[in-house]
């Protein structure tokens, strides 16, 4: 079964197949269609949609629903994502599951509504306070906007941790054929920790306060151990035409789509080039990167100032400046030609 939908709509479909109980959101271009489609679809299948009064409220509503063991989500873009950072830190601190979709636009400040990837560090390094990580999933097409949203809920409940799905204006606004999920995800059992409003869970407590410093440190150590487990188990990446490649482009999200076109075009001209595309940005797919980087020239393509390249370099133990960067900012797409020319310059 297929449906031709915007990436923003695919997110909602994936969420509902994952069993999402509630959507809390606030409109912002270019993410508004997520809220709009949720407003239409959630009540149609007996789920809750509520437009909050601001993003601060949206994320705290996600916190509230998660506290009772419900699957919930929100979706936003740059300025809204900034407002949500406090709530995300609280989710991480209280070990609550929740899915946050961010459809990146150009910044900083008000910026504009066109595609950029400048919120990489905000998502991957954490924009809130404290020692925490969100899992960060990076779809590269409309199908993955759905599938990785489903996956986000699974991981979020598996680890009791917020998960960010990081898209951008192109992925949100573009339409592609979506293969509908085959079936709904099984419901997680949350009675061990959630305050579900019943006798069984009456003794449960959701909080992130440990006024006693050694207890707070213990909590931090526990969180860090969880992150190490996530890093070992949940890395995901696509290696596209890299087997015999001499040059490997590194890109995620919409930049990876540009690179896919460039790789195909260059391959027709006999240039041995491939692409490394992380599908998880945290945990960073360092194992796949290490393999694909071995003995090959790298080039990073992103719609930001090198934030993604910094991570590529970090995970290879190199200085960022040693890896060539092709980028645009401000809401301008890197073009296929720009990438082709840069690769030719490198070859």
């Amino acid at each position: 079964m297929t449906k031709f939908v915007k990436g923003n709509e695919a997110v909602v479909i994936g969420a509902l197949y994952a069993g999402c109980d509630a959507f809390f959101g606030y409109p912002i271009t270019p993410a508004s269609e997520v809220a709009q489609m949720a407003a239409l679809y959630f009540p149609s299948v007996g789920k809750e949609f509520l437009q909050a009064e601001c993003e601060t409220s949206s994320i705290n509503m996600v916190y509230g629903a998660a506290s009772t063991g419900k699957l919930s989500m929100t979706a936003t873009s740059g300025p809204g994502m900034s407002l949500m950072q406090e709530g995300i830190s609280y989710l991480a601190g209280a070990e609550l599951p929740g899915v946050i979709v961010t459809v990146q636009r150009a910044g900083p400040g008000l910026g504009n509504v066109y595609p950029e990837q400048g919120d990489y560090n905000q998502a991957v390094k954490g924009g809130g306070h404290g020692n925490y990580h969100c899992l960060v999933l990076a779809p590269g097409n409309v199908q993955e906007m759905c599938d990785l949203t489903m996956k986000a809920f699974e991981l979020s409940f598996k680890y009791r941790n917020p998960v960010i799905v990081i898209a951008d204006a192109v992925l949100g606004q573009m339409m592609e054929t979506l293969r509908l999920p085959e079936k709904e995800s099984p419901r997680p059992d949350t009675s061990a920790w959630a305050a579900e409003g019943n006798a069984k869970t009456r003794g449960n407590l959701i909080t992130s306060i440990f006024l006693n410093a050694p207890q707070q440190e213990e909590h931090n150590i526990h969180l860090q151990a969880k992150y190490r487990k996530i890093e070992a188990a949940e890395q995901m990446a696509e290696c596209y035409r890299t087997d015999d490649a001499e040059i490997v482009l590194c890109a995620y999200g919409t930049s990876s789509r540009i690179c896919r076109s460039a790789v195909d075009a260059l391959r027709e001209g006999g240039v041995k080039v491939g692409m490394f595309r992380p599908q998880t940005l945290y945990p960073f797919p360092e194992k796949a990167l290490a393999e694909v980087a071995e003995g090959r020239k790298l080039m990073v393509v992103e719609m930001s100032a090198g934030q993604f390249r910094d991570d590529i370099a970090l995970h290879l133990g190199r200085r960022a400046e040693t890896i060539p960067l092709v980028n645009r900012m401000g809401g301008i797409l890197v073009t296929v030609e720009q990438v082709i020319d840069a690769v030719k310059g490198l070859a």
Partner: protein, 469 residues
Amino acid sequence: MAVIKAKGFYDTFDRSGTPTRDTHYCPGCGHGIIHKLLCEAMADMGIQDRTVIVNPIGCAVFGYYYWDVGNVGAAHGRAQSVATAINRTRPDSIVISYQGDGDLAAIGFNATFQAANRGEHVATFFVNNSTYGMTGGQMAPTTLLGQKTKTTPFGRAADHEGYPLCVCEALNQLKAPVYIARVSVADTKRIMEAKKAIRKALEIQVQKKGFAFVEILSPCPTNLGLDPLKAAQWEIEQSEQIFPLGTFRDISAEAESRKDPEPKPTPSEFFGGGTDVKAPEPDYAFGTKHIKIAGFGGQGILSLGLAIAEAARYSARYSSWFPSYGPEQRGGSSSCNVIVSGTPIGSPDAPQPDVLVCMNRPSYDRFAKDVPKGGVILCDATVEITEQPPEGVKLFMMPSLKLATEFGVPKATNTVMLAALAHLGVTGLATEQLLNALDDSFKKKPKLIPINRDIFQKAYAWCEANWKA
């Protein structure tokens, strides 16, 4: 010594770190009394199993040491948002938000106002002690004029800090709240009134009637710098001047109880069904077509692109559609890029389109020069061509507005253009599939399906007659 068990509380407060029965509150603080009134009420009503209390930031941050119910700690000012979501996702639970004046009336005032306005089923207990207790006695929104605090060392001045915020009076402007009352725990008589108000707010939740708000004036001897009795006296003599006690609203008798939701289909049932279309498989022989459609908003630019992309899906081809959006969509011009391909699509942008459809002159002037050799430009006949297309690019002029008007639907210019594209065969897609997609685009207005099919056929015939040579 015989120990009397307090109803609704844990037997001992182990979460504080030791199995004590003492609270962390200062002597003479009103919180202890309010906790007792609340816990007794919950126990008497038998609702502890299904109650979730949202714990605030402030002196009551450790409410969960004491309250024998489900407990959730919220960020400062966010309790009403958290409570909202609990209410929305667990409609059978009793949701309580217990907040202080900084939390509820300063940082969280908007959340409070909005939750009250939505009529969330939340019993809100607002402890007004005129100061920020936990952080050490700074000014609260409820600090009285002239009152000295750590951040109003010379006394609160109306022309500098504004007036004490009367929350009950503010919420009473809203339509949705069911119950709004202000009580005090400064003496026994007042405590008995507070007890009634707290029970009333909980009963409204049991009856599923809506938002209930109880403001409780509560002495803070520590930060007032008074002994407990004098602090209580201060509440009665000073605070009540600004915050008069009483019931501001009680429409609980008239308010209707929330109904249980009706059963709805599952996502599979809701999204499934309809005609099954196969997902695309790679077919390298098909190649890739880059198509750009541009014109004014209202000319059906986006829906023309969508019809082509949908036709590609019906043909089990890969396709993508990427629109202009944002302020541009309100500024008059409109465009979209459609890729139809035999293989998974990379960039959804079409900066050098093989096929360009221009519905107005600015579109031609802006995009025609980017069409590569071998490409096709389909232009509405009203567009004045001042510059010829690039070498090797074919230009077709289509009187779409004229024909659509002749065919009886002037708005159907995009249907005419779709027929022209079908005739030119530039999309690589079968005419029948383009027609199916056209039908589908009028799914919500089925009356228009035969009309547009007819226009399509006539326009197609026009192309055959006029472009044959």
